[in-house]
Symmetry: D2
Subunit: 336 residues, 4 copies
């Protein structure tokens, strides 16, 4: 850690600060510049409160030289993590691609089984579907809850596809016993108590980036899960909140894919459906995500009759997904 | 609700859409423009999924004419809400100003009682202190937990100040029995299950705006609490995430104060300490918040010896708070 | 245009407003809802000041139903624009791909000719190089100016590659006589007087999106150029300013590519070098841009000896560009 | 300047880098940590290209220890700048408050003279009015141009108020000969050629912060003007672009006021009218700006008959301004 002192820091206060830092067990390396004094702090700086240090009136800036994340850090684990999914030998990461598809919300048995069969035929290897739904309004449909999970399990039985569904409240964890991948949504990325509890399970956790979460925050949230004992974490880029919200719901940050692949060994999947909010954009963004190096995609597919009216929904029709899957596999091949 | 159709929407599909909307129990008022058809939807549009409607390929845009929030809406409750705090007759809102002060984290008994006595003398009427701390890193200090609440209660006993402290996990609710105001932090503003449970209590809830939360989302989260039965909600502006993060931690959005006062009857307090992250800015932002019409302030005050080195921390010293409180009351008077 | 009135708008004021609108030559279609009155405005609404209308105290919201952009609008020009570049039959758009490469700044003759020869061999069909450089600091290198353009023309002579370079001040327009494509940088996207003057030339204009420009603003700036008489506009996505600036300089908004392709007939190129600011990310973002449907790429390539130390610069080495170009063409083929 | 090397930087490359830095005339101070090597660069680092250095593959991060701005820096000029306005002894900064009021656009003689007389009576000491208007759309009213300036000068003659108006194109500079303060709008904050030319005049320049400009960029743009010879710069906060744009046009960043007052000796004024875009918010934001320590305010006042309908426009009526001015002066007194 490096602390740069202000140009007018008095020698007395500088001395007081150095003494205090040494008492915290740190080595302090003083470097006197023309205008500034720079302190290099050596040793276990993990417990030093950077904000507090920065706030001292003789301190100009504080920079952490080492990353705050350890367990997720590729520096210490150079090889890609490979996450086992379900019991039939499927994996994600390290070259294995995950194509996760299904409806936004589970609605009824026919719907979810029907969609599951169609997306499996197209090449999907996991089924998604929401049972507990985080809705901005208390008056909006909140999902089928436990009944939704029961329906997902029927679709799994019918197709063999492992299932991915979102948890919102740790008190419902028992209901997820047969779920293959537990999703943490963008509104819970920093629900630290939830992350700690999920860290005590051995389920793969699909962790979405926060609504306006930084890359570092996403990695630190993954660190919470791993530090609690569960190494099976999949990161998910799903668009970030920016000033541009007229034509897309969020701004899909595809540069996060290569950035994350550099910083961490964990696999990275991309959700173009939630990011854009418009089906006409899902295809190009899915292909772009693959070209950017994503380890998987999470795509909404729906067969509701009203959507017959439309090829413009956030959810693709099964036919549109069929077509897209073919193009996805072509891009995958071109990358080799 | 108003749906504008695309200029090339075919008459057949337009007819199909109108029929479908009528089946949802809505009145549909068709207005044919030179280039566009506009549908005015009348009746209970609350259950219409705007995103789905917008996603139809013949629909250009959908606009909700009525606000999605009801219980918090000033249109239906023109008078300011007045929130009772504690048992000694204190209130917040409707002209009553709340000056909440105290340390970021509760550390030990001497600290919290000492700070409580100082801020009370300066004019604070509530004591804040964190017991459960949401930290980005799992390796950072996570707060004293239940022990922290016990220490806050001792400070309350010593000074009579009602106490405000943050809840992170609904499973700890029992520990908050004697807490006067329960705070929901910025990372939990959209933890809807937590909000629902807090809506079943009768405690005042201080609800912070999300890290990058919109004003509408803040109101909808308040709506969750009230819809579950608890009308005692205090809103808190605490800075939003923007591209400008070099000189301040967040951007304090003071225009949210008059905007919220127009939209809702709930009281609005401002937290300049977390917003700016630097004590040298807390004073001017506190005064600006008061001038903007805030119903209260939440200010960090700390007496840790290392801060003797500094007048630059996010936390003010008790002396600096003393001085600021005087200036706050002067601005309050000038507003009358 | 649709104006929604406030629920408590008095009949008198509503009548006054309707009269006033009719005097502006508009047809007014009144639709009375349960809670609200909606006015549909028909006719030439282009001259109605939406902000002023919205600001009236009886008006809740105003929505423009028709797009404010005309000349760039795909609705009125369904076919892709094909922009002629230089005199040798090269085009961009409508299926023709533009691969623009070269150094950030022109430094000397050997450099620019050397880079031009290398990128041409790799498959680039245009040469970029900055002569007038917009620098945040007045103390930073401001470019070689007219001398830089002279050197670019030598590189053009040596290789036959058309050249692209940035204009900052309209008073230097004469120097651009032999330049093939004039670039307008992100800081000048809304320098409307510059746009108007460029609209009087017949040169292709490569118009970059503003630092934090919306898609609509980019289109309106293109509209300025076309409205002044020059239809040869190429749009360029180059990253937008967001809260995430630790790991990338800007956030490359690739969803802007399919959005722009829907809204306008103009070609869209992507600059992954400026967007990310780091060479290790340029490759994946270039491939992603192609997969997203971009009509071209603009990539920095440099051969400065210090970069021998590095494969990490924003600029690729000629060797790295060679390799990337091959992968770009493979993705292009996979898309067919 | 401090460069932190990557943990796996080889000794050979580290040596090469150090040699190269020394050749640039810098002193290099090497500090070997447990995991990292840190280079402290001493001497004239102004010419070192930070981006290039950061881009080297053995470099982890580069931090500039000294501010990039010099002439505007309070460190080197501790006293407030006091800017002379007009020829009648008026000043702004260093305790002198500037209350600038007037219409958004100059429309006709009666209007501008009428408004000028009203705002002067209320206590304004400068008159604003737009003659050249930067409009997003080429089809919107572009201002009266030179005729507008002529009308402003008539209003000045009638009232004695110095006038403030915006320049968009340096080729029109001659028209500003009798203008007292030349405004640079948010779209031209980084139009560096314009800034350089204005730096050759001796007029006070009111420099607005860019649409999404950082505080540092604003200071660097002021640096351009001063470096060209003109020290009379007034900074103006006018709201920044954020994700929150439903209830306000921009987010007024009032914390920029105390931040700028710490960093620079230049005066800072606030424009609450453009920031919020709604008159009902202008009053509270104006008072908040004063409480935050602003040296002045710029407020839109208009007397157009259609606004009789309204107290909700971005522009205040003369009566509303009258009332606000009284409250502004009361807050100013309470601050002493």
């Amino acid at each position: 850690m490096i602390a740069v002192l202000k140009h007018d820091a008095s020698p007395e206060r500088t001395e007081m600060l150095i003494e205090w830092l040494k008492k915290q067990g740190l080595g302090v390396h003083v470097s006197q510049g023309e205008y500034t004094t720079v302190l290099g702090l050596i040793g276990n700086t993990k417990n030093v409160d950077m904000d507090m240090l920065r706030s001292l009136d003789i301190v100009e800036s504080v920079t952490r030289v080492t990353d705050p994340f350890k367990a997720v850090n590729r520096k210490f684990h150079p090889d890609d993590s490979v996450i086992p999914i379900g019991n039939a030998g499927l994996t994600l990461g390290g070259g294995s691609f995950g194509l996760i598809a299904g409806p936004c919300s589970v609605e009824c048995c026919d719907q979810i089984v029907g969609v599951a069969q169609r997306v499996k035929l197209a090449g999907a290897n996991m089924l998604r579907g929401g049972s507990f739904k985080p809705r901005t309004s208390p008056y909006d449909f909140q999902g089928l809850g436990g009944e939704g999970i029961r329906l997902l399990l029927e679709a799994k039985k019918a197709t063999g596809l492992p299932i991915v569904t979102e948890i919102m409240d740790i008190r419902t964890l028992d209901l997820f016993e047969d779920v293959d991948v537990i999703q943490v949504g963008a509104r819970n990325t920093q629900n630290f108590d939830l992350l700690k509890e999920l860290g005590k399970t051995n389920k793969p956790i699909l962790l979405k980036r926060g609504l306006a979460g930084t890359i570092k925050e996403l990695l630190m949230s993954a660190e919470y899960i791993i530090a609690s004992g569960n190494e099976n974490v999949i990161l998910c880029e799903r668009g970030i909140r920016t000033y541009e919200s007229t034509y897309t719901r969020n701004t899909l940050d595809l540069s996060a894919v290569p950035v994350l692949k550099e910083l961490t060994h964990l696999p990275v999947v991309v959700d173009p459906s939630h990011a854009t909010g418009r089906a006409s954009l899902v295809g190009s963004m899915a292909l772009a995500a693959v070209a950017a190096g994503a380890d998987g995609l999470m795509i909404e597919v729906h067969n509701d009759p009203i959507h017959a009216l439309s090829d413009g929904a956030q959810s693709l029709t099964p036919d549109a997904f069929d077509d897209l899957a073919k193009r996805i596999f072509k891009i995958r091949e071109a990358l080799v």
